[in-house]
């Protein structure tokens, strides 16, 4: 199989002699040259010795072993060291004249920027700029605003939905089946519309922004910048990836927790994602709900952040195990390559579409079942007392129930309640906080089960509900006490 004779390296004469001696005893066929096997054996490599023992005649094997032992005993330095030194020397000789040094090119603006992003005084303002433009302007305003308005409002509501509703109503005479496909909670009018018209543009924009940032080499810098803060939560800077991705879609974020090194880190990150990280769809809706009231917005953001930090540091104290060690090699900052960015974006969107969209359809079916069997009504009726504890009108119970199917369905439900003028600002703030913290959506729960097993996932979800509820009650009391809003 080899195309050229194996290379001779300038080992000391006695070593070359020993190698030749051993090679003479090697009769079998190996993928490596005999000389290489002999060298490995001399270096004391267990695999090579085992291979020789298996394949060579016992007498030959005995001779080989004798030579190896004798050499290793008589040699003043480790044999591996001598070999490595010889190879280094050979490499240096080979590179003589091959390697030419020039003056390094002057630092470009990219190098300077790359250095600045890692130092807090400049790094934090840069981070805020990146978050503002990538997350708020691009994903929030362009994706969740302009694109969704066009695709959802114009294409779906004006053209597709009425057309499908007519079609289904003509083809299917039974109202029950009609409800499954179209109308308020239908697979086409709700499930697909939600997936394609609302979530896809938002998530698509997010993935595009994320790929751009990823390809530029900014993420490792961000990880270094945030490492110390994450240490406090029992995580390393590496966790910035699942969390930023989680802001796009918490389900994807949960999947990506696999890149974290220890099981402990993965549990903490998954828990925090389930609890305190809103996904882009939810984030967009809540931001628009609270946009009228700056105090409410600040209270909401501050409180969710507080829960995030509190729960994280608590988990870091409770869970057994060491904090993660963090090694990071920082690549140079590069101008992102259009092809790479598009490839990554499209692959992620492809993934999203095929893995997540079926769950939307499933959610539609479950809601259809729940509505028609009356299950929802009874559960909603029972969950009303929860809403009352939070100081919220009883209708919010149903909103929370919806929130389990899609985090943003819940937020959308709140929207309707506000339109009807049912909520005061305090109630709105409490509801927004509780909904943000509330259970992960169905898709995220499915991924949590896949990653951590049913019991852990269930425990996490239960804790989330408990935590969201008690946090909501606390916040409600505090707000009443302080009379802030």
């Amino acid at each position: 199989m080899s195309t050229q004779p194996p290379l001779e390296l300038p080992y000391p004469k006695w070593l070359t002699a020993r190698v030749a001696e051993i090679a003479r005893y090697i009769q079998g066929r190996y993928s490596f040259s005999r000389r290489c096997i002999a060298l490995l054996a001399l270096a004391g490599d267990e695999d090579a010795l085992q291979l020789l023992q298996q394949r060579e005649h016992p007498t030959n094997w005995e001779s080989i072993r004798a030579i190896v032992n004798e050499t290793r005993r008589s040699c003043p330095q480790p044999v591996t060291y001598i070999m490595a030194a010889s190879r280094q020397k050979a490499a240096a000789a080979l590179l003589d004249g091959v390697l030419q040094t020039h003056r390094p090119q002057p630092e470009t603006w990219l190098d300077v920027l790359g250095r600045l992003t890692m130092q807090p005084p400049a790094g934090i303002p840069i981070l805020i700029l990146v978050l503002y433009f990538a997350l708020y302007r691009f994903v929030g305003v362009l994706g969740a605003g302009t694109l969704v308005d066009y695709i959802e409002g114009t294409i779906f509501q004006t053209y597709l939905n009425p057309w499908f509703t007519d079609l289904v109503c003509q083809l299917v005479p039974w109202p029950l089946i009609q409800d499954l496909l179209v109308h308020e909670y239908g697979i086409i009018t709700l499930g697909l519309r939600y997936a394609i018209a609302i979530i896809l543009p938002i998530v698509g924009c997010f993935f595009l922004a994320f790929s751009l940032i990823e390809d530029s080499g900014y993420l490792p810098r961000l990880a270094l910048l945030t490492d110390r803060a994450f240490k406090f939560l029992g995580l390393s800077g590496r966790a910035i990836i699942p969390f930023t991705l989680g802001l796009g879609c918490t389900t994807v974020g949960t999947l990506v927790t696999r890149t974290l090194e220890t099981a402990r880190e993965r549990v903490i990150a998954t828990m925090l994602l389930a609890l305190a990280i809103p996904c882009s769809a939810q984030l967009g809706l809540i931001l628009s709900l609270l946009s009228g009231n700056r105090t409410a917005l600040i209270i909401w953001a501050g409180f969710v952040l507080l829960v995030f930090v509190l729960v994280g540091s608590l988990l870091a104290r409770i869970l057994p195990g060491e904090g993660p060690l963090f090694y990071l090699e920082v690549p140079p900052l590069r101008i992102p390559q259009l092809e790479n960015v598009l490839t990554k974006t499209i692959t992620r969107m492809q993934w999203y579409f095929f893995e997540v969209v079926p769950l939307f359809v499933l959610a539609s079916v479950v809601i259809w079942l729940g509505t028609h069997t009356g299950l929802f009504k009874s559960v909603a009726a029972r969950s009303e007392f929860l809403a009352v504890c939070l100081g919220l009108p009883a209708e919010v119970g149903a909103v929370f129930l919806l929130g389990f199917f899609r985090r943003d369905y819940g937020a959308a439900g709140l929207y309707d309640l506000i339109a009807q003028g049912l909520l005061s600002t305090r109630q709105l703030t409490v509801a927004a906080v509780a909904l943000t913290l509330f259970v992960p959506c169905l898709a995220q729960f499915a991924v949590m089960v896949k990653e951590h097993g049913f019991y852990t996932a269930f425990a996490m979800a239960a804790f989330t509900v408990l935590c969201a509820f008690s946090a909501g009650v606390c916040l409600n009391r505090v707000l009443i006490l302080l009379g802030l809003v």
Binding site: Y30, F32, A84, A90, A92, L99, R103, E214, W351
Partner: protein, 212 residues
């Protein structure tokens, strides 16, 4: 796995594929070749094999993605290529199996991952071995090249990230190195696909001479 401090400034690419999509069910929109061309096309039957080896963090996974068109999510972010990725790539008129290995510092392995990489070399009977090296640290990479040659591997040396070396003021005369080592030495910038056409050509030539 931890990295020695001396590697601190080297690139590190991560195969997130393990995290993302283990069956690569939806990940191969560019990789039609991996689904279509299933036929053996070498004399001995079976697909010819190209094995990528090299230090950790030199861009093996990027080269792998470029060669196979398989989309293994590669990110500019640290981690390890824990899994051995396999795919098919087109080398001129040949379709060959391409195997990506975990990082390997020396043929005398010390970590589990290195052992995996060496076992692949021992057992896979590669038709061509491509040693992917980081141009910035070529003098630390060459001993592995020498070991691979010593083992009689049909070798191609790919000097990757040549742009980064140039920025640091290093010039590498690949033609001269090729003459001295008697193997093809190809400068490349895998991330921008530069130099990989030449790699494909050389690999195809080597496979031809090996099977002729």
């Amino acid at each position: 796995m931890s990295y020695p401090g001396e590697l601190a400034h080297i690139y590190k690419y991560q195969c997130e594929n393990a995290a993302y999509n283990p069956g690569r069910r939806w990940g191969k929109f560019k990789g039609g070749i991996n689904m279509r061309l299933n036929r053996p096309n070498l004399a001995g039957g079976g697909l010819g094999k190209v094995v990528l080896v090299g230090y950790p963090n030199v861009g093996k996974s990027v080269v792998f993605n470029r060669l196979t068109g398989l989309y293994v999510l590669v990110s500019n972010y640290p981690g390890t290529t824990v899994e051995v990725a396999r795919g098919r790539g087109k080398f001129k008129e040949l379709v060959l199996e391409v195997i990506d290995t975990p990082g390997l510092y020396s043929l005398l392995p010390s970590t589990v991952e290195e052992k995996v990489a060496r076992r692949l070399l021992l057992e896979e009977k590669a038709d061509v071995v491509v040693h992917v090296a980081d141009a910035c640290n070529i003098e630390r990479m060459l001993p592995l090249t020498l070991q691979l040659l010593e083992a009689g591997m049909p070798l191609v040396l790919l000097v990757n990230m040549i742009d980064e070396a140039k920025r640091r003021g290093l010039k590498i005369r690949c033609d001269l190195l090729s003459q001295r080592l008697q193997i093809p030495v190809i400068p490349a910038i895998a991330i921008s696909n530069w130099g990989l056409g030449k790699l494909r050509k050389k690999v195809a030539e080597l496979v031809h001479t090996a099977t002729a």
